[in-house]
């Protein structure tokens, strides 16, 4: 570490005006609030004004409607869009389907990630651990689209997955099952990472103490390890849940005729040019995620991200 320069002590008769920079930093040191304000100003400006402002604008536009012939926006506030959403069964079905898919993906990923992360953190030899972590993380850099398309090829009629299940047409094909499988595959590293980090922080001595007290591996796992990594699991679930909830691309690639809430939002803003309805539909996943975030915050998941 480079040596810290120490200024010469100012003794009597050596009264010296402090350098301007030094004066400023001393003043700042005494005024903590100003320092805090400076630190927070730029990020808050960005996040509150730009991001929250954009979200607020979206919420406002959900109260507008669209002229049915020309497609121009009619800026007359009304709850028409929300009434339409609440009144039409298909929107409810799609929203519930999307939440179910997101939940299924989260559960599947958690189940697969737990043993893998545990192996990485606790069982793997330190010599191999680094390489194994690299092996798990490398797929993050392979394009998401390419991975989804590779699955489309694998799920195609007569492709490898059909062969696995006994011939053309026997595999899952394109549809809801395929969507869940592919989404679970895509988000798996995002679930492994926080659990691995959480397990790394788990001290070995706790596990040894549990063994000393006579617990077998499964009991240790259930009573010592699991409660301590629950926040990490929920941290990973934030990623898998939100990424699955809003996804519309994977559904288009392997989902066959399935519609999820992301597709409805995308279809209404792109193809149908109906931003207000799109915005109204978009409030559904936003609400779900905000509720989820508030719930997992209490479990301490946000610190484990």
């Amino acid at each position: 570490m480079p040596p810290v320069p120490v200024p010469a002590p100012a003794g009597p008769g050596r009264a010296r005006a402090p350098r301007p920079g030094r004066a400023l930093s001393s003043w700042l040191y005494r005024h903590a609030r100003v320092r805090l304000g400076l630190l927070l100003s730029a990020p808050l400006l960005w996040l509150v004004v730009a991001y929250l402002g954009a979200l607020a604008l979206l919420l406002v536009s959900s109260l507008w409607t669209v002229d049915t012939f020309t497609g121009d926006i009619v800026r007359h506030p009304s709850l028409d869009n929300f009434r339409a959403i609440a009144g039409t069964p298909v929107y409810r079905t799609v929203a519930l389907r999307s939440v179910a898919v997101a939940a299924a993906v989260t559960v599947i990923d958690a189940l697969i990630a737990l043993p893998m992360a545990f192996y990485l953190a606790k069982v793997a030899a330190p010599r191999w651990r680094g390489w194994l972590v690299i092996a798990v993380l490398t797929p993050l850099w392979a394009s998401y689209l390419v991975k989804a398309y590779a699955w489309r090829v694998m799920l195609a009629n007569g492709g490898p997955l059909d062969d696995l299940f006994g011939g053309p047409g026997h595999g899952p094909g394109y549809g809801l099952t395929a969507t869940v499988i592919v989404l679970s595959y895509l988000w798996l590293p995002y679930m492994i990472l926080p659990i691995y980090a959480g397990l790394e922080r788990l001290s070995d001595s706790l596990l040894e103490a549990s063994a000393d007290l006579g617990a077998r591996a499964f009991r240790t796992w259930r009573s010592v390890v699991l409660p301590m990594i629950v926040p990490s699991v929920f941290a990973g679930s934030i990623f898998t849940f939100s990424l699955s909830l809003g996804d519309y691309i994977t559904v288009q690639i392997v989902g066959g005729k399935t519609q999820l809430i992301g597709n409805l939002v995308y279809a209404n803003i792109g193809a149908a040019g109906n931003l207000p309805l799109s915005a109204a539909l978009a409030t559904i996943p936003v609400l779900v995620m905000v509720v989820y975030l508030v719930a997992v915050r209490r479990l301490g998941a946000l610190e484990q991200l």
């Binding site: 607020a56 604008l57 919420l59 406002v60 109260l63 507008w64 669209v66 002229d67 049915t68 012939f69 020309t70 497609g71 121009d72 926006i73 009619v74 800026r75 007359h76 506030p77 339409a84 039409t88 069964p89 298909v90 929107y91 079905t93 195609a156 009629n157 007569g158 492709g159 053309p168 094909g173 394109y174 066959g256 005729k257 519609q259 409805l264 279809a267 803003i269 792109g270 193809a271 149908a272 040019g273 109906n274």
Partner: protein, 398 residues
């Protein structure tokens, strides 16, 4: 907590206040035939020097620069001749194209009949100065100044070509060879899970066309003019069809891949898709006995085009006899330029596509935007407009 609640209340009030301001209603018109005129937009007076580039929204296959097939390229010669670089954005459906044109980022669009009037009445496109497009003189007369590309005798675009939505099937998987749309609409289909259809609300017209011929008591005279009963019948037919559908398609190469792999074995198609599959898989496409919906495409110039000179140069280029023939043969449609028939590689091409037959062209039900005012002239009833079609489409897909 008290401060928090107060802050939230103020924020909510602010949101409501914002929603209210901005005035109510905008410009733009409403359905044609109600006496409303399209917004006044100026047309180009004269072509100046090229701007160096042009941004185009088009159907897949209309703006080819050799990257799909090295032998298929009419963009590179254009750039060489005019110095205008072409930036192309492919639209999968007419709705996408309307939305893209509304952004104002594009100069040209190849719009089908269900997009043209929306663009005209929305003030998104300008009238075309046909004096600046020498090749316009050779366009087939039955395509000029039609209801979908002109208003009150003012032309809003240059016709490009027209064609039908055909029925395609895998000859090794679908037997006997179908002759009617019934094969995709029958309830207990042996091809369940392998049927495909075009992913756009306009597909409702195909269902209406089928009902027009098979359920005459519904008295459908125009598949784009549907009153409540007729509309409900079409929606019910498509909801029943949805159970047998494997995939809907709007990306044409996705359909190519699906047919090659065998994930789809029968469904709606464009000729270009059948041509692209070629010999890679055994397929055939026909115009079924009930007739078909189709599209008649028009090149339109954006109202506030950033590169109007290059845009007009493109207009003249794309409907010139040689290029129009190239596009028509690649895509599989009837060319709009009468002289293009002399330049097709296949000399029987124009005959196969009935390019010069006004009578045949009149039999196709071209994509048109449905409006509340019935397009078949009925006055006592209101028909379903496109917003209702869009809403129903979401419900059909489920």
């Amino acid at each position: 907590m008290g401060t928090y609640r107060r802050v939230m209340a103020v924020a909510a009030a602010g949101v409501l206040a914002l929603a209210g301001c901005g005035g109510s209603g905008t410009g733009g018109g409403s359905a044609p035939g109600t006496g409303v005129k399209p917004p006044k937009v100026d047309r180009l007076a004269a072509i100046g020097a090229g701007e160096g580039e042009v941004d185009i929204v088009s159907w897949a296959g209309y703006v080819e620069n050799g990257t799909d097939d090295p032998k298929v390229d009419w963009v590179t010669p254009f750039t060489r001749a005019t110095g205008c670089k072409v930036n192309n954005k492919v639209g999968g459906t007419s709705d996408e194209m309307v939305t893209l044109m509304k952004t104002g980022d594009y100069d040209l669009v190849s719009a089908s009949g269900d997009a043209t009037l929306r663009l005209i009445y929305g003030g998104n496109v300008a009238p075309v100065n046909t004096d600046l497009v020498p090749n316009y003189a050779d366009i087939q007369s039955f395509l000029k100044l039609k209801g979908w590309n002109s208003v009150d005798g003012v032309p809003y675009g240059i016709p490009h070509g027209w064609g039908a939505n055909l029925l395609m099937w895998r000859t090794d998987k679908v037997t006997p060879a179908p002759t009617s749309w019934g094969v995709v609409f029958e309830a207990n289909s042996p091809y369940k899970g392998r049927i495909t259809a075009y992913d756009s609300p306009i597909y409702l017209a195909d269902a209406a066309l089928y009902l027009m011929k098979t359920k005459p008591d519904l008295k459908i005279t125009n598949p784009y003019a549907l009153d409540d009963t007729q509309f409900q019948a079409a929606v019910d037919l498509l909801k029943a069809q949805n159970k047998n559908i494997g995939e809907y398609w709007s990306d044409y190469t996705k359909e190519v891949q699906a047919f090659k792999a065998g994930n789809s074995v029968v469904g709606t198609t464009w000729q270009v898709i059948t041509n692209t599959i070629g010999t890679d898989a055994p397929v055939q496409a026909i115009l079924p006995s009930e007739g078909a919906t189709g599209w008649s495409d028009t090149w339109m110039v954006a109202a506030k085009a950033k590169h109007p000179n290059c845009a007009y140069k493109w207009l003249d280029w794309i409907v010139s006899p040689e290029v129009n023939a190239q596009v028509a043969e690649y895509f599989g449609e009837a060319p709009a330029n009468a002289r293009a028939c002399d330049h097709t590689a296949d000399k029987a091409f124009c005959g196969t596509y009935h390019a010069a037959e006004a009578g045949y062209a009149a039999k196709i039900w071209y994509w048109t935007t449905p409006t509340a005012q019935c397009l078949d002239g009925r006055t006592g009833v209101t028909c379903k407009d496109y917003a209702a079609w869009t809403k129903a489409w979401t419900e059909i897909k489920g």
